[in-house]
């Protein structure tokens, strides 16, 4: 797949971050072309967002242009390997950042709601949440209320305790997400 810009035109990586040396620009262009499919793959694999490939490539090409300006003698395949490595690292960083923001954001939103909303509204929101819990999460809620630890519950379910806890909170996160989108409630069942 040829690299195209956000508006559809073909993109020249070397013209975006020129090194000031024609030979280095050529190497950068070749390495950029060779790495584009990898950027696309990483964008889907790590971030589930094809458009993120452009941002990954921008970041990697900027890094590579500085590198080739320092080491103009390096061959194009070394440059390609560097670009791919930067793309992978950046995609991993962004995925970790996204994973951290989403659950925390939802929980913080809920905490704000619990503080700011009147009691009746809070109760209605929480009741809706509890009513929508799956039989698994509902059982976990009851066992936790009874005072059983995650390890005891996991032992009974023959699972790892972190997996049980993660599955329980993931379901709550997903329900919170559904409840926060007005008008979409029937789709969340």
């Amino acid at each position: 797949m040829p690299p195209t810009g956000r508006v559809g035109q073909e993109r020249k990586w070397s013209s975006v971050y020129p090194t000031g040396n024609a030979a280095s620009d050529e190497k950068l262009e070749a390495a950029g072309q060779a790495s584009w499919s990898y950027a696309s793959l990483c964008a889907w694999t790590y971030l589930n967002d094809g458009d993120a490939a452009h941002d990954l490539m921008d970041h990697a090409i900027e890094n590579a242009s500085r590198y080739i300006a320092r080491h103009p003698e390096r061959p194009a395949d070394k440059l390609t390997a560097r670009i791919k490595s930067v793309i992978r690292r950046r995609a991993n960083q962004l995925a970790t950042k996204n994973g951290r923001e989403l659950p925390s954001g939802l929980l913080v939103d809920l905490e704000h709601l619990l503080v700011a909303q009147p009691d009746a509204e809070q109760r209605a929101y929480m009741n809706e949440l509890i009513d929508r819990l799956s039989p698994f999460a509902s059982s976990v809620l009851k066992w936790r209320w009874l005072g059983y630890s995650w390890r005891e519950i996991a032992k009974h379910l023959e699972m790892d305790h972190t997996a049980v806890r993660r599955a329980y909170f993931r379901e709550i996160e997903s329900l919170l997400h559904c409840l926060s989108r007005s008008g979409d409630l029937p789709q969340c069942d």
């Binding site: 994973g99 929980l107 619990l114 009741n127 209320w145």
Partner: protein, 113 residues
Amino acid sequence: MRLNWRQSSRSQDRLEKTIAQQHEKRVLTGDVVPAGPCPDDDFLRMLARRSSRIALTDPRVDHAASCPKCMERLLALRQKYRQRCRMWMIAGIIAALLLVCVAIAFLSQHQIL
């Protein structure tokens, strides 16, 4: 989706506590319909102590966590159990302190210290 447990575990704990409190309120106000008959007092006592002899799949466990009568009894038993634990802990600390005092007195009497 990857979760960062270190960052969000406090929020999760608070959320879990809120949900558990709401569940308790719902049950105590009779909003939840329990299934099956109420278990006997011995079973509730074991449940309050989280006895390992109780299987979590036991239908009486599910009933006890969703019946207002059983929940009230469980809350009372749990408080009693906690008070007893606290009492034993205080007694243990006092006994340990007494032992230390006796040991110091004994050692100083025999001029070992």
